[in-house]
Amino acid sequence: MAQLILNHLSKDFGTGKPAVTGVSLKIREGGFLALLGPSGCGKTTVLRMIAGFEQPSDGEIFLGEWRLADVNAMVPPEKRNMAMVFQSYALWPHMSVADNVGYPLTVRGLSRDLRDRKIREALEAVRLDAYADRRPADLSGGQRQRVALARCLVTDPDVVLLDEPLANLDRHLRQEMEETFREFHARSGATMIYVTHDQAEAMALATDVAVMAEGKLLQVAPPQEIYAHPEGRIVGGLIGQGAILSLPWPDRAEREADWSVIREMFSPQALFTQSFADVLVRPQDVILSDEGLDATVEAAVFEGERHALRLRLENGQRLRAFSRRPHGVGDRVRAVIRSGWRL
């Protein structure tokens, strides 16, 4: 196994707007990368180029030293030793569960004994050994998903691709499947690439998160890092909750500011001196107290653990905050911004 490298990858379907432009990415061996972005951002196209279903119109894909694809030629998917979990599961309805799982081994010409053993192991790993002789049509959505996973498991693939695998499942099953994916990653040691538009899913599963929008790669970082230090408005708006304020930022290197700095930004003098910057403020960093900025409650939603508030500051900008006490719309409060991050 080796590092998967995307080098300046682009894809243009000839629709006037390229689907993917200049995506460069290194995925470390055994890493779990979540490719996150709104629908239509090109993340599935990147995945399909890695799988070999689409040929890049520019750039290259390497697996270690092995050149998988460039503009002129590419290794067909059947030779790549990759596996994929499709959004629709893509189980073959005319084969039993065991035949579905074992098909990659059949194609590779393994002996019957070895094949049966590997099928059994894979089905045990997803806890479906009792269903080996069923047809996919007889299984529930979550069970089908696990069959698809088992099919990925049998061949010890170098790379496993997952295309929104949880999109068709209900909330309860999702959590269970996330657990299964984590186990699967730990067990197989394969490099995994997981396409999703759900940031919570991405953060929960991946060792690295790559955010895409409009065909471009915006940022790649581990989940904690990308949550704490997002780059740019789009990533900031996409990852986690938060409000983006436009504040007069002093000319200094630090991108993180605490209350003492932020308070200065709201003083009347600040307006004349500095240039403005986009600042991300997470709701848990907004503390309602007796001091701080004057604000009006614009909306309040009870979420069970807490109340989520939308506040309107004196200058018209909006903040998000959490509170343990209920507030009514129109209540006047004071808020301290404990921390802000310049995007």
């Binding site: 799988a51 050149r67 030629a73 059947e78 073959w92 005319h94 098909y103 061949t155």
Partner: protein, 564 residues
């Protein structure tokens, strides 16, 4: 270490060129040859003799009038069946619909024979019940009106299907909204349903017209004895009295038929534009109106029509086949299965015809399957434009009347094949080629729609599993489209086995088909043998249709032609 580098495509390199060459061979080559011969003979003034021939104009006039009146009959019968069976609470819809579709699948010369057996002075059936007109009185069906009537009966199912598809696609909520706005059932029918169903009506009528223009079996059996020629039978007659100008004449005549057909097809295309009535088939039923007191009356009327157009003619056919000799009254005592023994066991001509038709049909059905599985795959995996082009090239030889294609094949193969130096003209191979060309679309349609319905990720998963093209085809794709492939085989077999028009021009001694055998037996006066053979053919048709009906639930919508 670059290895296994190939172009980024799921199809092997040879696939697309293969599909293109098949289309070129089966569609572009014969029709192009016909067009070139037609244009050349026009330019060289070869058409002058033909154009000044009053026979041509009479035939053109006959074709137009029989086709038009036939269309009216089809619209009347097919339209009422479609409206009553789709919109109203008639009992026994399935059996009524199935029986009503039979005339379309029964070969036209058999329809003509059965009606001839039903009416006229020598009708065995009328004699058996003592109602036959006196000997010497004319057979009423040997006339323009008779031809038109039978054309109308034969193609009424086309109107039925087109209109029914249109009616089933009507939005149910639109009808319910009209009811809630206070419209009575009759007003809804008049103001909402009929206007929306009009395109289906018009399309069905256009299809019936095109089918009438190209029909050979009915005007051959009813028209030729009375010297009433239509364009297809004129071609047949010209070809039978072979002369120096024959090739030029028949290419011009078939060009004329092609033009008439294209005009009809354009009308159909225009009214159906943006609405593929074969694919739209809402699962929700259209609103069913209560007929109340009229229900029994309507049901009796429907069954009466079926009795008249299907059951009585078929009874007459059976009666004729059981009669000991032409004109002898049939009773329980005189009835004999002599004719069946004759066609099945003694006559070498009919035995050869059985062998030829069944052999040709099997070879066509399975041979085409090999081609259309690959072609259907390409159609499903290509862009919209390319898929439409492939579909159109495959459709043209089928959409044009068989007589046009037969003439094209004659022109193409009259001379020996270029490289090999042998001629397939007059052999069974020219028939096989013509069948391949003619029925390509019949085989392609169900398979292409099955491929299109297949989730592409099923194949992609197989690719990632490591399966190459041949392997995926064998293990994944073909098993998944198997029901459609089965339907394609049965459909092609059914249509090829009953075919007359193409083989009427292309057969020669030893290569006659069932259609030709029936026609020749009737032509030579062996009416009871022709009837017996026809009864066997109808039996075969019904069995095949039942087989398709059994498959129907596992097939994509629109594959079984009489289900919509």
């Amino acid at each position: 270490m670059p290895r296994f580098l190939t172009l980024g495509n799921s199809q092997p390199r040879w696939l697309f060129p293969f599909v293109l060459s098949v289309l070129f061979l089966l569609s572009i080559l014969p029709l192009g040859r016909l067009a070139i011969t037609g244009i050349l003979s026009l330019v060289r003034g070869g058409g002058d003799g033909l154009l000044s021939d009053p026979g041509l104009w009479a035939a053109l006039w006959n074709t137009l009038t029989t086709s038009f009146y036939g269309m009216l009959v089809s619209v009347l019968i097919g339209g009422s069946f479609a409206l009553l069976l789709t919109l109203f609470d008639i009992r026994g819809k399935w059996i009524l619909g199935f029986l009503f579709m039979l005339p379309m699948m029964i070969p036209p010369q058999v329809t003509a024979l059965s009606w001839v057996g039903l009416t006229g002075p020598s009708s065995t059936l009328l004699k058996a019940i003592g109602m036959a007109p006196p000997l010497g009185s004319p057979q009423p069906l040997y006339s323009i009106g008779g031809i038109a009537l039978l054309l109308g009966v034969q193609n009424a199912p086309l109107v039925y299907l087109a209109l029914r598809a249109g009616l089933l696609a009507l939005p149910r909520d639109g009808i319910e909204a009209a009811r809630l706005s206070g419209a009575s059932a009759l007003q809804v029918l008049r103001d909402i349903i009929l206007p929306l169903a009009l395109p289906g009506f018009a399309a069905g009528a256009a299809m019936a017209f095109v089918s009438n223009v190209g029909n050979f079996g009915i005007p051959a059996i009813l028209g030729i004895p009375a010297s009433i020629y239509t364009l297809p039978t004129l071609i047949y007659a010209k070809f039978a009295s072979f002369g120096p100008s024959t090739f030029a004449d028949i290419s011009l005549l078939s060009g004329l038929i092609a033009l008439l057909s294209v005009a009809g097809l354009l009308v159909e295309e225009r009214v159906l534009r943006g609405r593929d009535y074969r694919i739209i088939g809402l699962s929700g039923r259209t609103a069913v109106f209560q007929l109340k007191g009229w229900r029994a009356v309507s049901e009796i009327l429907l069954w009466l029509v079926l009795l008249l157009i299907l059951i009585l003619p078929f009874a007459a056919l059976v009666a004729s086949s059981l009669a000991p000799a032409y004109g002898v009254p049939l009773s329980l005592k005189t009835a004999t299965i002599h004719a069946y023994e004759e066609v099945l066991l003694r006559q070498s001509v009919t035995q050869t015809a059985f062998r030829n038709s069944i052999g040709l049909s099997l070879a066509t059905a399975f041979g085409l399957l090999l081609v259309t599985v690959l072609m259907g795959y390409v159609v499903a995996r290509s862009g919209r434009r390319l898929a439409a082009l492939i579909g159109a090239l495959a459709d043209i030889p089928y959409a044009l009347p068989g007589i046009v294609l037969a003439v094209a094949c004659i022109l193409l193969f009259a001379a020996p094949l270029p490289v090999f130096g042998v001629s397939i003209y007059g052999t069974i191979w020219i028939l096989l080629f013509a069948y391949f060309s003619s029925f390509l679309a019949v085989s392609l349609r169900p398979i292409a729609s099955a491929f299109r319905q297949l989730d592409p990720s099923l194949e992609e998963a197989a690719r990632l599993a490591g399966a190459g093209f041949a392997r995926r085809m064998r293990d994944i794709l073909v098993p998944l489209i198997a029901p459609a492939a089965g339907a394609a085989v049965i459909l092609v077999f059914l249509i090829a086995c009953n075919e007359l028009t193409v083989s009427a021009l292309l057969w020669s001694a030893g290569t006659q088909t069932l259609g030709v055998a029936i026609y020749n037996l009737d032509d030579s006066g062996s009416f009871n043998l022709a009837s017996a053979l026809s009864v066997l053919v109808v039996g075969m048709v019904v069995v095949m249709m039942f087989l398709l009906e059994l498959l129907a639930n596992r097939l994509p919508k629109g594959v079984v032609p009489w289900r919509s």
